[in-house]
Symmetry: D2
Subunit: 308 residues, 4 copies
């Protein structure tokens, strides 16, 4: 239950409070957190505000859900991790795309335990490669006063893409990357990754697309391909008795709400349930999980800086 | 006109001769090339045979079309280049995919001169990134006695993918790469490239897919995306007055023969016309063009060998 | 603003009231309508309840939005039309699919005035044919105590399909044939229609699909085809300077909420604005518009009854 | 083996003869059929020439393959049927689309015996409905001197569509309605059919599309949908343990030649094998099979003539 909302824009705060029937409007985040009837905070602001408010929420022992990016730097995030773990708090970063219906189905397929749904007795094999395409239409130029179009892109989009890959394949252990800067202050980023599992990957991420889309595919050592198209369609080829040409296909519901399709509802529901159950299980990625995303984007930034 | 055919398998030679009504069957390539009524040779054998026969064809002043891969090593190819250029011969490597209808249309779109067809007055901008997915179902293990599943894959498939990227984006100037070896002796190769133009790229190429498919997309600095799906469909997003959601789409003819759709007929027709006209223009890639493909696959091989 | 809600299920009523922050829960529809702080009612129940409550809302001079189907029979609907028009009320039937983003874009394309978006100077020509596929997974068997699986299907799904066709092509003037067969108490309905404009149409509608999908295409006398796929993608072929193979394509936003994508939000927003503006314009279909849907489904039912 | 070719255009005849290495060029069809080294004729001309030459081939006891349409009228065809059956000849009409890879796979799926390929133990149920979209870009206006744009369309395209439906669903027993309107001398035909099995169908066929495409779907009484897209992709939904959202998908080979993909090679190979085996089995549709296509197109024509 939403108890209180705050927003520097008072009208936005009031509108939100009305949507959550009965929520109070508080003048600022401190006032919200000073109330003694709250268990957790949900933050959606700038990374600077996220870091500051999350630190104070930690201090007060409040569970924390924060929209990506939680902080500007890995250092700030690691301090939050230490603090939150000391207090035993549930933490979660809002990488909604990993909770999208298609992402969950893809993960289940990769794990090979799509049962009881699909009923393939066989397993798909070990995933050995993943390619990903993450095409956004922003940001063009700087964001959040970072004074770096590259860092702006890494913190607003590339991290989302990396998180998606990590969710499907596990942590990234090594990165090679190159950047092309485009017109209109947009960027195109080409990266080649190695996962801790030994699997390899490629990522093409850009802020120069006309509209948002996300797609990717996974290859397994048993000769199967799992292909995902834009939060919409999943195809698994190489299964069954005629794997050469017949595959399996999954599609989202035409009438599924975008909030479900894009994972927004699921991630918040998971967070709420984790708090109620008193266990972080099922609520992810935690602040700690998010560290590996910062490792990857920091590595990308370093490589690009080093390019002559 | 096909004058003579040869094949170690005599029955295959006879069958081919019948299909080319009136062609002679010769006992071997030497006998073919000793005839005084031929201008050119078309070779489709192993890279070792290609290299040997192409060298002798050069010596006899015959124009040469050779299926990929023309040679096992870059060194052999560079010798053929020198020899053929000294004699002024037309040379061509059989990278049919760059002559596929969809590839030609993609190239035209990237060049921004799709006129008179599409009639977009506007240009698409400068291409700054390309990602490519090349999913084959073979080879699994060694080929052509190369004693290297990796070199086998590089010479039978990765070169095809690289050539496709080079055709669309120009030569590759730098490569980062990583390999995952899969079960059944197949491989998955993740590479990150930089083109001479400064554009960046990613390539995911595997021999572990259940069936062959090829796809890719290009991003431009003007915020357009050109997307190609499996020799079949091309979509250009970011054009027109409502570029956010409306794009342009091209599809191959349903009844187009595969020989045309996959570029086999076009590449041979271009080669024949080049000889008749006495100019190599329009016939590509030449042996010299192919050197840059060997540069890229050799770089990939070196990087992968170097991986601890 | 939602003032009051009612539902025979008290818990559902309370839950809804909470979602609309501050709405009262009333014991029944009469109590709701007895309040003097309401302007309009929104009904989502059975057609029998719709008809009864709508009649009382008319009597009280309240504007009415009703989920489809508004009534069991055309006769009841025509009485509501007469009553509501006498009082000058805004009426609307909840055919959300015609308000789906893809449906609105399709309508704009057919009208040929997609400007300023797409900017095709040319017009698409007069639509002369439309085929539609409406594949639902229910109802299987009887619904709403109608004692007729066919009428149940006509009132819960076929009317939705007919409304979509009417929205794109104008009223239906004749249903030439319709036949149904089924299994598992589901039906498959094949119909051939003529529109008042002279255009022709086919409809395949079924309740036997595994999941819901809707698709259709329109042919114009100028040789263009407008193709719509499942609330998702629109393609227009036959435009531009190379109309043979290049077309235009539109896709919904990946992150568009289902409520918008499926038209639910738009239809209610239009209804609210019509009341505020004091003009029914932009709010459709009205109860009168809906009469033509009943004409079509009644004709289908008669034809099916008449089949030996 | 092709022994002789003829064509009123001598150059075309010579070119064809060269392609079939060693074939003779004969001055006319009579000369071809007077040779004593031929078993069968393959005709691709106008329906008037087909009828005349086929009659003479029958008289000489030659097996006959004829491109659609074999004749202008059903009457002529029925005479050929009688004659050919008396002589025990193998006859075949060139409806290549039923031999397309996707059509054969669709038929196998409908028959429920896709084994050993797909391995679904379960059957798909009885097909109860089929809708079909047949979009061609010609003919515009009259063809073959028929003095009827409608008959021209029925004989050049609608018969192809009907044959495809008959191949999947069995003979048509009734055409309930058909209407056409058009522009640019093209037509759009909307028809509703009943199959002998009791299944129902719709057909939208037009000559006003910018390019050729064919698509259709079948619904079964067990709640499955088999969807076919343009000689390319087949999807079966409603199978497996999670039939709601997971289905099975089949795609043609990217490199499949159009001659195979579109069925041209298969139909001729079947004809040749039937002659060699001395049994018509596997070679279809025969002239007799084709009678039901004429029944359907004649019914369509009559219904359209009868429309006020």
């Amino acid at each position: 239950m939403v108890v209180a909302v705050t927003d520097p824009d008072g009208q936005a705060a009031s509108a939100a409070a009305r949507r959550f029937g009965g929520a109070s409007v508080e003048p600022d985040a401190s006032a919200c957190m000073d109330r003694n009837d709250i268990d957790a905070v949900v933050l959606a602001a700038t990374p600077q505000v996220h870091a500051e408010v999350a630190a104070r929420a930690c201090a007060k022992g409040l569970h924390i859900f924060v929209e990506k990016p939680p902080t500007v730097s890995r250092l700030e995030l690691s301090q939050l991790v230490a603090e939150a773990e000391k207090k035993g708090l549930v933490t979660c970063v809002g990488h909604n795309l990993r909770h999208a219906a298609v992402a969950l189905e893809m993960r289940a397929a990769i794990e090979g335990n799509v049962a009881p749904g699909v009923g393939w007795a066989e397993r798909l094999g070990k995933p050995i490669a993943m390619e990903m395409r993450y095409y956004a239409s922003k940001p063009r130029g700087d964001r959040w006063g970072l004074n770096s179009p590259l860092r702006s892109f890494l913190l607003s989009h590339a991290n989302h893409a990396i998180d998606f890959m990590v969710f499907q394949m596990g942590p990234v252990s090594r990165v090679n990357a190159a950047l092309a800067s485009g017109g209109s202050q947009g960027v195109a980023l080409a990266a080649q990754l190695v996962f801790a599992s030994g699997a390899v990957g490629t990522l093409m991420a850009t802020s120069l697309a006309p509209h948002f889309s996300i797609a990717g595919s996974v290859v397994t050592d048993a000769g199967r391909v799992i292909n995902m198209e834009s939060l919409h369609r999943l195809t698994v080829f190489g299964v069954g008795e005629d794997p050469k040409r017949w595959g399996r296909e999954w599609t989202t519901k035409s009438l599924l709400t975008g909030y479900d399709a894009a994972g927004y509802r699921t991630e918040l529901a998971n967070f709420a349930q984790a708090i109620q159950r008193g266990s972080a299980e099922g609520c992810h990625p935690s602040f700690r999980d998010e560290l590996s995303v910062y490792d990857a984007i920091d590595a990308i930034e370093d490589l690009i800086r080093d390019v002559p």
